[in-house]
Amino acid sequence: MLKPIRRIFIANRGEIALRVIRTCRELGIDTVLGVSEVDRDSVPARQANRTLCLGPGRPGDSYLNVSAVVHAARSSCCDAIHPGYGFLSERPALARACEQEGVILIGPTAEQLEAVGDKLKARGHAQAAGVPVVPGGSAATTDEALALARQIGAPLLVKAVGGGGGRGMKKVLDLARLPESLALASAEAGAAFGDARVYLERLVTRARHVEVQVLGDGAGRVLQLGERDCSVQRRYQKLIEETPAPGLSPGLRSQLHDAAVRFARHLQYRGAGTVEFLVDVERGTFYFLEMNARIQVEHPVTEAVTGVDLVAEQIRIAAGEGFGARAVEAEKRGPRGCAIECRINAEDPAHDFRPSPGTVTQAVWPAGPGIRVDTHIERGARVPPFYDSLLGKVIALGDDRPAALARLRQAIAATAVAGVATNLAFHARVLADAGFAAGGVDTGFVESLNV
């Protein structure tokens, strides 16, 4: 099936909206950007061929309004919708509305979104695909949870079934405190996701977060474009990502790649996606965490070492054109060099990294060989309080990891953003750290820095 895509509606904002516009321009595709009232004058709004105001600043009234997005896309004669990440990107409701209205969703099917959006279902699919999962399970009552917890053993994690981003997630070190943590996790999950179900799983004390980028054509063909290590996290929020994952044994690396491909193939996955794994450092093994059925914030590191434009691949797949030659080649050839990314956020390290909205009075971004910056922030840009605090991403590519790291240190030192608080000093500190330079830190690394 070949359905040409000539105009794309972008249902997102910030750096990812700009990122999608850039690829559309290269491909000669028109863009219509849906904006909220507070984003009318944003950089992406000026770069798109046309903007349509979806509603007021609050995401629920604009970027999360499925009807407004689909109506706007259809009425502006767009062939397809690119949802970016966050917002509506993984909502089956958008996929379904697109199917009904005859608009292509640049992403997976509604069924696939449902299969991976629910952690319990996703876990079941992982098991069916022969992908290892963390020992654990769901429990309906406190008694059941206690029995299950005894099997799994402490320490363990209580997680929200419908959750993400660390909300509804509780660590239980002592089984005596399980009932209390269950009640808290359930209440948090109910408030944040409208789904109070929780499940328990073994807590891996020394874990690395390693994920694999895949592309699926929707007919069972799946490519993997290598892994990304995202172990530098603060409260489950990724801050630094890199590829290849440093210090993984070749055996473990290829097992991860194979597992991701098996999982995506099992779903007959369509589009770009990321299969996330927890690598158990002490046991030298790994478990399936979840699949993100969208483009990821950290996709540029993969693009840097493969030369593949992942957004262009998403559009190709959505148009029924299959994979690009470059992506097919990149899978065979493997990565060239190393790439590391820092997420620059408007958050205040002096106040527990709380978001710092405001108006940017100065924005100096780095440039030079091997440096890429994805940002929508320039002098005068507003950082509204309604959305996530990502200001931009600085990515460094080098022939090897020390070269990439040296470039990234220079680049971060050359970056200056004023008017809002940023985590730039945090990044400088991590990049200067001997443990990080050695490579292969675990997810406890940021906490150990005492920031």
Partner: protein, 163 residues
């Protein structure tokens, strides 16, 4: 010189009758691009606007009707700044604006109509859901600012209602 809306209509008709898909016209600092496929990407770029980062005025799109296979022709673009102020009733949500309850029926209001705050002055349809638009104030309609059947964005001027 500048192009009037009537000039652009004429040019649009000429393009439609021709075998070309696109037309680009530059006259003394004004640039007009018309494209046939997709039918709504007509834009007049004001002189001095940076290329790429340029100001693209919102162009009214006629919603595609499911029955007709041919895309609707481009509506003439507007280069005047959008009306604003306390007299302007703006769209409370994005959707398709209808001035009458059903096709062929008389409009809810015309220029000269007197309205009360709860007077229905139009409908905004979003994915087949009809939302009544109320005048929100007492006064007299002095100008109709959005066409029947047009896609209106959130905050777009619909009517001028003077007290």
């Amino acid at each position: 010189m500048s192009l009037t809306a009537k000039d652009i209509e004429t040019i649009t008709r000429l393009l439609e009758a021709s075998s070309f898909d696109e037309l680009e016209l530059e006259i003394e600092g004004l640039k007009l691009s018309l494209r046939r496929r997709g039918a709504v990407s007509a834009a007049v770029v004001a002189p001095g606007a940076a290329p790429g980062a340029g100001f693209t005025p919102a162009v009214q799109a006629v919603p595609p009707s499911p029955e007709s296979a041919t895309p609707p022709p481009a509506a003439p673009p507007s280069v005047v700044p959008p009306p604003a102020g306390p007299d302007i009733l703006t769209a409370p949500l994005l959707g398709t604006f209808y001035r009458s309850p059903r096709p062929g029926e008389p409009p809810f209001v015309e220029v000269g109509s007197r309205v009360e705050p709860d007077t229905v002055v139009g409908i905004i349809e979003v994915m087949k859901l009809m939302n009544a638009v109320h005048a929100g104030r007492r006064g007299r309609v002095t100008e109709i600012l959005s066409q029947d059947g047009a896609l209106v964005e959130y905050g777009q001027a619909l009517l001028r209602i003077e007290a």
